[in-house]
């Protein structure tokens, strides 16, 4: 025993900092803790906005602008959270948004909408988006094409098709009912923001409270185990991509409403923004772990960042650099956490 005592203090000195570290990482690793980090980041950003832009930032109209911008990419990101949690990836979301927006605003569609009901445009966009997602999912699940490649191909094809249909022209919306509905507010909250809130809430319930969500985690975490456990992994994969496609269709509707146009250039780089928001939110790129709340924060952080930069007259290029830096930091942090819990 007496020889031990000499060695023990030296060991304890070493283990003390290690223990503290594991306390922090345990906190960051817990769902509440991870979101705390995101909330802190968002608050800091807002403070930055107030300091640099003052009243121009802390203004109700400005906040609503941020939210309206966040709403469109937010709906796509919620769908993307499902696909990534399920072990997939979709690079074609921006292109699907563009195609849906174009298809829903052709003269023909608008004509029918004016003759019957503006909801026709919404259905068209959802149908086009859902169909694109279905094709993606089928290619990946049944055609066994790697998700990255399959959706890269869809990206090119969908945008190309959008250009053909629109003849590379911006299509102006002239359906009064449509514009009136989406321009309205509910208790001061713009309809677009309400839609985003509903999609996020619905997404949360779907992911965390239903068999569909649970299967998504299983399929993303270990597809072979999921298959042997009796889950139809291929069908589930198709459903995930279709769900994302529907989200893209809805986002297209919202984008049409916000810009009053449909265009083949809509949704540029949405794939990057959505994936980035999902990842900094804490969803694991390798699948099996995902959080809708994190994604919502991720979207808000990016949109607020752009807003602060714009108010300070900083260039789009500077924004891109900042976004890149944030993504790198988030991924590094995530790897740290994953390694800790996995060790």
């Amino acid at each position: 025993m007496s020889e031990d005592t000499a060695a023990v203090p030296a060991q304890q000195v070493k283990s003390a900092p290690a223990k503290k570290e594991s306390g922090i990482s345990a906190l960051l690793g817990s769902p509440a803790g991870r979101n705390t980090g995101l909330v802190v980041a968002l608050v800091l950003l807002c403070l930055g906005g107030v300091v640099t832009a003052g009243d121009r930032f802390a203004d109700v109209d400005n906040v609503l602008t941020i939210l309206r911008l966040a709403a469109v990419i937010g709906v796509v990101s919620v769908g993307m959270t499902f696909v990534i949690t399920g072990g997939g990836i979709d690079l074609s979301v921006g292109a699907i948004v563009a195609l849906s927006s174009v298809w829903a605003t052709t003269l023909a569609t608008q004509g029918i909408a004016n003759d019957s009901h503006w909801i026709v445009m919404v259905f068209t966009a959802l149908l086009v988006g859902g169909a694109c997602g279905l094709v993606n999912g089928a290619l990946i699940a049944y055609g066994r094409v790697v998700a990255f490649i399959a959706t890269l191909a869809s990206l090119a094809a969908a945008r190309g098709l959008a250009e053909i249909i629109s003849n590379r022209k911006t299509q102006i919306v002239n359906v009064p009912g449509f514009t009136a509905f989406f321009d309205a507010s509910v208790l001061g909250v713009p309809v677009l923001v309400v839609i985003f809130a509903l999609v996020a809430a619905g997404g949360w319930v779907l992911l965390n409270r239903t068999t569909f969500g649970r299967r998504t985690f299983a399929v993303g975490g270990n597809p072979e185990a999921a298959r042997l456990a009796g889950i139809d992994v291929r069908r589930h994969t198709v459903m995930l991509y279709t769900l994302l496609g529907l989200c893209c269709g809805l986002a297209a509707v919202m984008l049409i409403a916000r810009t009053t146009t449909g265009s083949a250039t809509h949704g540029g780089l949405y794939e990057l923004d959505a994936i980035a928001a999902v990842v900094i939110g804490g969803t694991l790129l390798s699948g099996g772990r995902g959080t809708i709340a994190g994604t919502v924060f991720g979207v808000l952080i990016f949109t607020t960042l752009s807003n602060v930069f714009t108010l300070n007259n900083l260039s789009i290029s500077a924004q891109a650099v900042a976004k890149g830096a944030i993504i790198v930091v988030a991924v590094l942090l995530q790897q740290r956490l994953a390694r800790r819990s996995g060790a």
């Binding site: 060991q11 239903t210 068999t211 072979e224 099996g288």
Partner: protein, 502 residues
Amino acid sequence: MTAAALLSVRGVVKRFPGVTALGGVDFEVRAGEVHCLLGQNGAGKSTLIKVLSGAHRPDEGEIRWRGEVVEFGNPTAAMRSGVAAIYQELDLVSGLSVADNVFLGHELSKAGFTKRADARRRTRALLRRLGHPEISPDRDVGRLSVAHQQIVSMARALSLDGQLLIMDEPSAVLDPDEVRVLFGIIRELTAQGVAVIYISHRLAEIREIGDRVTVLKDGRTVATGLDAREVKTADLIALMTGRVLENVYPRRKPVDPAAPVVLQVRGLADEDRFREVDFTVHAGEVVGLAGLVGSGRSEILETVYGARKAAGGTVEVDGRRLRRGSVGAAVRAGMGLCPEERKSQGLLLDQAVYRNITVSSMSSFARFGFLDDRAERARAATLTESLDVRPAGVERVVRGLSGGNQQKVVLARWLLRECRVLLLDEPTRGVDVGARSEIYELIRALADSGVAVVVVSSDVEEVLGLADRVLVVREGRVVHDGPADEIDESRVLDLVMEGHAA
């Protein structure tokens, strides 16, 4: 204390967030001995191994290597000092070749260039020594069977020429023949003065190869330096579990001859692994499949379940023929398969215990697709309690559980689901004696409630103890089918090995 202590461990403590895996371990290993570590699942054996081989850093305590206090900061440092370990969970890099894996971290090189031909040649020699000349050094490790991967791990450990070789449940995936080869090698090594730390839940093996035994319980040493041949089995079990175990296997009830046939397999064939497999399982019957690893047992089960596409033959459940190659059809007919490899085929490692357990019976906890979380947790908790999953707590992430406890989780999944036909592939791999008898009880209880059970196991004793009827599979064919009480272990081994023991 003898002067010959090669390794001595004192007061080693290792904590993980929320669990103290090792709470004070003391023991010493002499040169040239086989020192066995015994203990229940979760007792801390694997954690101790990882501490000794530099994969984990101890929080407290002292490790002396050849009399000097050492701190292996990483596995490479341990390897350099002559400590080589074969971990319980295989640690090979798939995508790399067998030879690359064997020499990973200590590549043979000259002026920075790897000497690939040398590595290949030495790998081939090691594999031959391990009795597996058929494994090519150039194969991708990821494409090998688990048993072959285990052999590669052993080759890797041997290639280090260490003074201390640590093996964490090496026999779990080996068949009797291979275990014999392994023991031969261990004897050669100890004769040269190499010390071996050997972990296994099979007491018979410990008696055969061990010199001294150390028993761990809840992360502490409860006995050390016991004579492996003298100590009584009952005493060992009492030390490990703290209780006395009367009968490992439950009593069988005679199967009602009028019981309906539930599972009927006719002429099942695969492209190359097996052919003309016929068997039937009645309600309430447990059928055991014995055979060598690689004889086609697992493939037969997977094909019956529809996870592999059959080349011919039919599978019927309750008289209805199943669509070929469709897991969905099998599941709808009430079939369940507990797969052989818990990590790659069974577990969702990053998810909670209860989610792993309910994943196959989610619909029974759901209404209109909405899950009743609380009911799920409650059901999972009852099951984990009866299987003695440690540490308790259905919210824990499966990754942090010990190997045997992970196995219990996979099994619990299928015990929960109300199946008509339950296919169990190595259900007790790595599970300790106490929990094993608990599992046998549960399987028997399921059978008594009318389920048809098929069990594959490399442990012949288990097949004979648990099953009502035994099928022996050799090279993809059923060579024997008869009641379990009309055949004994040596006869089964003869049937299994026939024409194989060249």
